[in-house]
């Protein structure tokens, strides 16, 4: 299947000499939600800005649905909507005026019924005649989304869409984004709330220091790099692990009152049955147990730390 976005050997060095991107290769599939994760300054916004035409690449190519972003920029850009990270707004304009401007800029004639639908979906219709300067941060963020949706894009970039947005509004936003995906829109998002990426994304890309260090299907990633731990709370604390348990991947925690067993989620056997048998044979009793699985956030932090 031809990717809807193909990035090939993309580099960007700013005039200051800072190398923001170092040979990025990336393919985005049609209709997916792709989460681009990375620490501050990793190159996420630069990558998005180049794809959208705001920043010039130093070298490499980007095509959108087969259209080169430089030589065939009209066709490429007409497919893309962008919600920028910064809350940029024409302060003195009304919601309706600024959203209508966006539709026009993307070459679409006025369609009041469609604009009304977009504004209603984002709970902005009642505020359509309000000046942007009178809106809260969350409402402004919604206006930016409305602007991006006003021209019916088939690809939507969301750069930190939920930054500074309250919990309820955030939930509404993700609902809207899900329904967009269901309608066939490809979504590329960056977020610092990694649990949101874990909930929403089909695939994950991790970028660090201008390099894409991983691109993986989310479930595969969680499966491959996720760890599971079994924690046993002991009746009696141990000073050291008994030699009989040396064959298991055990560590003592919490002053010897807990035994932590780490196991591979991909393995055909967890080894828990054998561990429990050996514990009973060694006369070690436990009063409670629980299991935990590493989150995407744990995996992300681990990956970035390893890449330092």
């Amino acid at each position: 299947m031809q990717p809807i976005i193909a990035v090939s050997n993309l580099t960007k060095t700013y005039a200051s000499g800072f190398q923001a991107l170092k040979g990025i290769d990336l393919e985005i599939h049609k209709g997916e939600i792709f989460a681009l994760l990375g620490p501050n300054g990793a190159g996420k916004t630069t990558l998005i800005s180049i794809i959208c035409g705001i920043v010039r690449p130093s070298s490499g190519t980007v095509t959108i649905d087969g259209h080169d972003i430089i030589t065939d920029y009209r066709a490429a850009r007409s497919l893309v909507g962008l919600v920028p990270q910064e809350l940029t707004a024409d302060m003195f304009e009304t919601v309706l005026a600024t959203v209508s401007l966006s539709r026009g800029l993307w070459g679409k004639w006025d369609d009041p019924a469609y604009i009304e639908k977009v504004l209603r979906d984002l709970s902005l219709w009642e505020r359509r005649d309000s000046k942007l300067m009178t809106l809260s941060g969350g409402m402004k963020r919604r206006v930016l989304i409305a602007k991006a949706l006003s021209h019916e894009p088939s690809i939507l970039f969301l750069d930190e869409p939920t930054a500074g947005v309250d919990v309820e509004l955030r939930k509404d936003m993700w609902e809207n984004i899900r329904s967009l995906r269901d309608s066939g829109v490809t979504i590329i998002l960056t977020t610092h709330y990694i649990h949101e990426a874990e909930d929403m994304a089909d695939r994950i890309g991790v970028i660090n220091k201008g390099e894409l260090i991983l691109v993986e299907d989310k479930r595969e990633l969680m499966h491959k790099l996720g760890k599971k731990q079994l924690t046993l709370q002991l009746h009696h604390s141990l000073d050291a692990l008994p030699p009989a348990l040396a064959g298991h991947h055990l560590t003592l925690a919490n002053g010897g009152s807990e035994l932590v067993y780490t196991y591979d989620t991909q393995g055909s056997r967890t080894g828990i049955t054998g561990l429990l048998t050996d514990l009973a044979a060694a006369g070690i009793r436990f009063k409670d147990l629980d299991t935990t699985q590493s989150s995407l956030e744990d995996i992300f932090v681990d990956l970035v730390r390893r890449d330092r």
Binding site: Y73, T88, R103, L105, G107, K147
Partner: protein
């Protein structure tokens, strides 16, 4: 051509003008009316006719030109600077719109505003002094060409400026002095020969002279030269705009 985009920019800019009508329209009209009262009635009554035209009437084209130049520059520079200042320029840069179309939208709106203003000032002048326009077609041609040229200059200033102070700098320190010294209130023939020669380096002389010729058939320099100078200035502005977009100067990193 992305016509909906050009129209959207144009309508957006005109709507902004509509919201600040008092500042954009009433203020220049009042200033011009004051010029008529002070220079036309008070001082003008003591000045004899210039080349067969009463002084009050003689200054009308210069006054229109003065407003046309300053307002074209102000409107166009603010129009493109404001999206840069607020950050909404990202939308222009990421839209499927060519640089040429962006310029048509912004410069078209700025030129429209100053042409309307020029015509309103002309109508105001009719209230104060008798005016006969000898060449209405050329009057409109000079008006439109000058408005477009100086709106392009304003667009360039709006891209170049990195603060509101700089936005005011060029109109205040260059455009206004050149206009006042460009024969707005006098014919350069009244100057000593040396200063006449110096004045010919002021491009505004050619604009005022050509425009005045279209009213009274009286000119400091040949109308053909005036037209050629406007054409030259327009070409220079277009080249600078083309360079800005080619290099992404102050727009793209």
């Amino acid at each position: 051509m992305n016509l909906p985009a050009v129209i959207a920019i144009y309508k957006f800019e005109m709507a902004r003008w509509g919201r600040t009508l008092l500042q954009s329209l009433v203020s220049p009209v009042i200033s011009t009316a004051l010029y008529f009262v002070v220079f036309g009635a008070a001082i003008g009554s003591r000045i004899s006719e210039i080349e067969g035209v009463s002084y009050g009437t003689f200054i009308v084209p210069g006054l229109i030109m003065l407003m046309l130049l300053t307002q074209s520059v102000a409107n166009a520079s603010f129009g493109i600077y404001f999206p840069r200042f607020t950050g909404t320029i990202y939308e222009l840069l990421s839209a499927p719109i060519s640089y040429f179309e962006i310029v048509i939208g912004y410069v078209g709106a700025a030129a429209t505003k100053s042409i309307v203003l020029g015509l309103i000032i002309l109508a105001t002048a009719f209230l104060f002094v008798p005016i006969h326009i000898a060449h209405p077609f050329w009057m409109i041609a000079f008006l439109v060409l000058t408005a477009i040229t100086f709106s392009l200059l304003g667009f360039i200033i709006g891209i170049w400026a990195d603060g509101f102070e700089k936005l005011q700098l060029v109109p205040l320190l260059i455009i206004t002095p050149l206009t006042f010294l460009g024969g707005t209130f006098y014919s350069i023939s009244v100057l000593p020969p040396f200063w006449q020669g110096v004045t010919l380096f002021n491009p505004v002389v050619y604009l005022v002279s050509g425009f005045r010729w279209s009213f009274f058939e009286v000119a400091d320099v040949s109308p053909a030269i005036s037209l050629a100078m406007i054409g030259l200035f327009l070409a220079i502005c277009l080249m600078v705009v083309a360079w800005i977009f080619k290099t992404g100067y102050r727009l793209k990193s």
